[in-house]
């Protein structure tokens, strides 16, 4: 038996005393400090332990001695911590980050085993954060949008050292090579993705971060409402029905026999004007949250690129459509008339960070751009199309009018009439010859409306002049006049006085007794013989014998829309180009069919003459000299067979009218047609 070592000197001394009367008592070997056992921390290596700071948890270090008895433990001295009652263990707090060395010394321990230590390193997991721009309310919540990428989340430790990072444990996500403190969270599908990182093993510490992965909305253009001027359809079935100024997804393009209400709208603007549009989008991908974005359209006209960019627009999760208030284009339409058959607007919306535009579909329109502000507040499609298509690029009235009139120059003759856009019916001039309607009420042959809505599409000259007027007014052209032509009878209501539009052949001197008329109109008499033409709109042989006619003047040029001719600077030039003679229906009209078309012609006709009023004071010679001829020629002209002459020294026609044959008058610059401005 040995004497256990004492911690007190007396005891130690006593221990060396040999016991009386017996064998000397053997001293016990000196106690040894065998080891330290650490609980509440993780052994890193050797005597190094690590753990995460924690207010509630402690590290317990227990010493094992040999002998492992309270007497020995009583000699243990701990460098830190709170020793237990038996003094063989201490509790070390986990409050602060850092490395602390805990040393325990056995006061009377054997040499070499008196002291042991452990190094306790406390670390902390202080934060976990996504590298995302938008942090939401609440604890560690961020917002991201669904994509093929990922969001990076970073843990912050104290100390921020790789060896600490290595201790982090992640419950999800993907590790980032070489960056143990980072993880990536996939951003698809949309969800609330929570990721937890943990540090420590005993009373471990975990932090959770959540990324609210949202779906960004997707839009597709579904409707547009424009501030276009009013365009009306034409044709029989859908006449005067308004195109609704809208493009609606799925509707067909405007076409023949398609009601205006059932197709995409025609658009009509004025050069220099601004196109405004209120787009509506179909939400093709619904957002997770209400999102705010921008929409924009872009189109090009005549080399000008115009854009429509909206203010911020909210898209709610349940919204089926997004309607955007009217947006004005940033650029005005360029100068000049335009006809755009495929005016295309490409629509976009912004992505989640407004860094890019995403395609939202395109719309296509028929766009007409007029010369200037119209004085006709509604346009019929056919006339808008015809005038714009033929006058593309024109910027002035004087350039526009002849260019637009070209729409009516290639449309004469059978089967060639200007085709109505609404129903494809070809318009015409006196399609049924003299049996052509005389309807004064709509659908009238005297009006634009009538020509564009009558089943036969035909009109009289009043209708065609009205149509040309309408066409000009669509482009703000008002500097025109109408000139009402009457055959030698400007004011009277006498419709028996006629004129004959080309082509008529006058054979011989004629045998008519109705001076100043010379030739019989009876076609069996072969005196004034109708020839083919002059072709009118859509009709090779329209009525050619008239009591009145009307043409349009603009910029000192005569336009005759009925016949599609123009370019005449004065009445005489027009007359020579268009008129073959005059006639009178006093004895009636001769009716027959020419090339299958009912016609009539005055029974008495003439190649034409100019009326010269005399009061009896002028001789034949004095009158003749005014027309560049002589007395005999004038007096003996067949036109003057009915004029009485005072047979005196200087033969003088009696008061009244003297008739100057057309050939003479025309050569002298006199025209036989009379008329007045209306």
């Amino acid at each position: 038996m040995c004497i256990p070592p004492s911690s007190n000197r007396n005891q130690q001394r006593h221990a060396q005393v040999r016991p009386r009367g017996g064998r000397a008592r053997q001293n016990c070997p000196l106690p040894r400090l065998v080891r330290l056992t650490v609980a509440g921390a993780t052994q890193l290596q050797g005597s190094e332990y690590g753990e995460v700071v924690d207010n509630d948890c402690v590290i317990t270090v227990t010493a094992t001695t040999e002998p492992d008895t309270p007497q020995v433990w009583a000699n243990l001295n701990w460098s830190l911590g709170d020793a237990n009652d038996q003094n063989n263990a201490v509790r070390v707090d986990r409050l602060a980050v850092g490395t602390r060395r805990l040393t325990v010394t056995l006061a009377n321990g054997q040499e070499g085993s008196r002291t042991l230590h452990v190094d306790i390193t406390l670390v902390d997991l202080t934060d976990l954060a996504f590298q995302l721009p938008v942090q939401l309310a609440g604890t560690r919540r961020w917002k991201a949008y669904e994509s093929d990428g990922s969001a990076r989340v970073i843990a912050t430790t104290s100390p921020p050292q790789p060896n600490v990072y290595q201790q982090l444990r992640w419950d999800s996500g993907a590790a980032v090579m070489g960056q143990a403190q980072e993880h990536d969270v996939a951003l698809r599908p949309a969800r609330d993705a929570a990721i937890t990182v943990t540090l420590g093993n005993v009373c471990e510490k975990s932090l959770v971060a959540t990324v609210h992965i949202c779906t960004w909305p997707a839009l597709h253009i579904q409707r547009e409402l424009f501030d276009s001027l009013d365009v009306l359809n034409d044709g029989v079935a859908d006449f005067a029905n308004l195109f609704d100024k809208m493009w609606i997804e799925g509707r067909p393009n405007p076409a023949v026999n398609t009601p205006a209400a059932n197709c995409q709208s025609i658009l009509w603007y004025t050069a220099g004007g601004t196109i405004s549009v209120a787009p509506r989008f179909r939400v093709t991908t619904h957002p997770t949250d209400t999102e705010s974005l921008y929409v924009a359209g872009q189109a090009a006209v005549g080399g000008v690129t115009m854009r429509w960019v909206s203010a911020a627009v909210d898209v709610a999760p349940g919204a089926g459509f997004v309607t955007v208030p009217q947006i004005a284009a940033d650029m005005a339409l360029p100068a000049g008339v335009r006809c755009e058959d495929a005016f295309t607007i490409d629509w976009y919306f912004t992505n989640q960070d407004n860094s890019a535009w995403i395609n939202a579909g395109s719309t296509q329109h028929i766009l007409y751009v007029g010369l200037q502000a119209p004085t006709e507040n509604r346009a019929y499609w056919t006339l808008l199309d015809a005038s714009c298509r033929n006058a593309v690029g024109q910027t002035t009235e004087n350039g526009f009018v002849p260019a637009a009139f070209a729409a009516l120059t290639g449309t004469t003759g059978d089967g060639n009439g200007l085709r109505r856009k609404g129903d494809g019916v070809r318009t015409s001039y006196y399609l049924q010859g003299v049996n052509t309607s005389g309807s004064q009420v709509e659908p009238s042959v005297y009006s634009t409306r009538g020509i564009l809505s009558r089943p036969d599409g035909t009109g009289r000259c009043g209708g065609w002049a009205d149509l040309m007027k309408h066409m000009l007014r669509l482009h703000g052209v008002t500097g025109y006049s109408l000139w009402l032509i009457r055959g030698a009878d400007p004011n009277a209501a006498d419709m028996t006085k006629r004129f004959l539009v080309k082509n008529c052949a006058f054979n011989g001197a004629g045998t008519s007794n109705a001076a100043p008329y010379t030739h019989l109109g009876d076609q069996t008499q072969n005196e004034c013989v109708k020839q083919a033409g002059l072709a009118g709109q859509g009709k090779t042989n329209p009525e050619f014998d008239f009591g009145d006619h009307v043409v349009v003047w603009h910029n000192n040029i005569i336009y005759d829309p009925s016949y599609g001719v123009h370019g005449y600077a004065d009445v005489l030039t027009y007359e020579n180009a268009a008129i073959d003679g005059l006639g009178t229906a006093q004895r009636g009209m001769y009716q027959w069919a020419f090339a299958g078309t009912p016609q009539f012609i005055a029974l008495d006709t003439s190649p034409g003459y100019v009326e010269h009023a005399t009061d009896g004071g002028a001789t034949w010679g004095e009158i003749a000299v005014q027309y560049g001829t002589n007395a005999d020629t004038l007096e003996q002209a067949p036109e003057n067979r009915g004029v009485l002459t005072f047979m005196n020294m200087y033969p003088t026609p009696v008061d009244g009218l003297v008739y100057v044959p057309r050939a003479i008058a025309s050569a002298a610059g006199f025209s036989m047609l009379t008329g007045h401005w209306v």
């Binding site: 029989v236 079935a237 859908d238 005067a240 029905n241 009601p259 209400a261 006709e376 309607s437 005389g438 309807s439 004064q440 009420v441 709509e442 659908p443 009238s444 005297y446 009006s447 634009t448 409306r449 009558r454 089943p455 009289r460 000259c461 009043g462 002049a465 009205d466 309408h470 009402l484 032509i485 004011n491 209501a493 419709m495 009525e543 008239f546 009591g547 009145d548 006619h549 009307v550 009636g588 009209m589 009716q591 209306v678």
Partner: protein, 350 residues
């Protein structure tokens, strides 16, 4: 919705004899019976050529009697207007005038005969002229307005003596307006006056009738919208279906009160109207025949009677003489079996 009475067999037989089926609402049983008894075809040899009918009151003011004016299209030349007695022994038609082919026309009693009003279609313009039947020459109604397109000419019905003011639908500026040509002391007509009346659509035809101290205006306005009905008239001209609007005009021909529709929701093609004191009778052709609206006074709910016909009816004419309404209508115009049909019914009691 109108509730139509199914005809009794005797009634069907009577109506069928005239080639018509007739139906009426419950409130118009008396009118139905009378019409069925009296609808008779007029013996008229040129019936297939007839393009228009008018009924005017002839005779002196104390003993008026109806005369039926018939326009027939001639192969060559113009349109012949003749007068016949709608009742009594058949007599040869009395030639009145030849007007322009396919002219729109009207007639009214005048001192010395019958005044005929007609359109004269030029190429650029369309004038209105008038003449006294049997007298040479004619005068221009629009002599003060030379350039214009004037259609649907009508004398104001019920004016005591000629010259009777003329109304017309004038085209211009892309729209149709109702104009009045007032008589002038020289017996001709003065410059037109635009009548400011409520036009709730495109004016196609209008009739003005003396009515009490003022006038009654009945207008036909073209129906808007796609698929509006139309038909070819007796002259092959397109006749658009329209809506009839009525409005009272005061002595100055200014509108008074609200506009009303004698045939609500019923598209009509042609119409004529007559007044009997405060009463109104309007006869209109429709897709299925013709309808008559008759009321004894302005406040009375009109009796509406429908004539059904398998063939198109056109050119309706109505005239009130005393307390009798004389009605005429053209059946199957332009066809070989065309007929002029006549009837008379008691005017509704005031």
């Amino acid at each position: 919705m109108r509730a139509w009475t199914i005809l009794t067999r005797p009634m069907i037989a009577a109506v069928a004899a005239a080639g018509l089926l007739l139906a009426t609402n419950h409130n118009a049983a008396r009118a139905r019976a009378d019409m069925a008894d009296h609808l008779q075809p007029l013996p008229f040899a040129d019936a297939p050529e007839v393009t228009g009918l008018r009924l005017i009151a002839a005779g002196d003011a104390g003993h008026p009697h109806p005369r039926l004016l018939i326009a027939t299209q001639q192969d060559q030349g113009g349109m012949n207007i003749v007068a016949v007695a709608p009742a009594g022994p058949p007599q040869p038609p009395e030639p009145l005038a030849i007007v322009e082919r396919n002219a729109a026309w009207d007639a009214t009693p005048a001192a010395g005969g019958i005044a005929i009003l007609s359109s004269q279609a030029g190429s650029a313009i369309s004038a209105l002229v008038w003449q006294i039947a049997g007298q040479p020459g004619h005068q221009r109604v629009n002599r003060r307005n030379g350039f214009g397109v004037f259609g649907a000419p009508h004398y104001i019905k019920g004016e005591p003596e000629h010259p009777v003011p003329v109304t017309s639908v004038a085209l211009g500026g892309g729209e149709s307006r109702l104009v009045l040509f007032p008589p002038e002391p020289d017996g001709g007509y003065g410059a037109l006056r635009m009548l400011e009346v409520p036009l709730n659509g495109d004016l196609v035809d209008a009739r003005v009738l003396r009515w009490g101290a003022g006038y009654l205006l009945v207008m036909k306005l073209a129906l808007p919208g796609p698929g509006r009905p139309e038909r070819a008239g007796p002259d092959a001209e397109t006749i658009l279906a329209g809506r009839l609007d009525c409005v009272r005009l005061n002595a100055a021909m200014l509108p008074e009160g609200r506009t009303w529709q004698p045939f609500p929701g019923q598209p009509v093609f042609q119409f004529d109207a007559g007044t009997v004191g405060d009463g109104i009778a309007i006869l209109a052709t429709i897709g299925s025949g013709a309808v008559l609206s008759a009321a004894g006074n302005a406040g009375m709910r009109p009796e509406v009677t429908e004539f059904r016909s398998a063939t198109p009816l056109s050119s309706p004419a109505v005239l009130a003489v005393g307390q009798t309404l004389h009605l005429a209508v053209l059946d199957a115009a332009g066809e070989p079996d065309a007929r002029v049909l006549l009837t008379e019914v008691p005017a509704p009691a005031p």
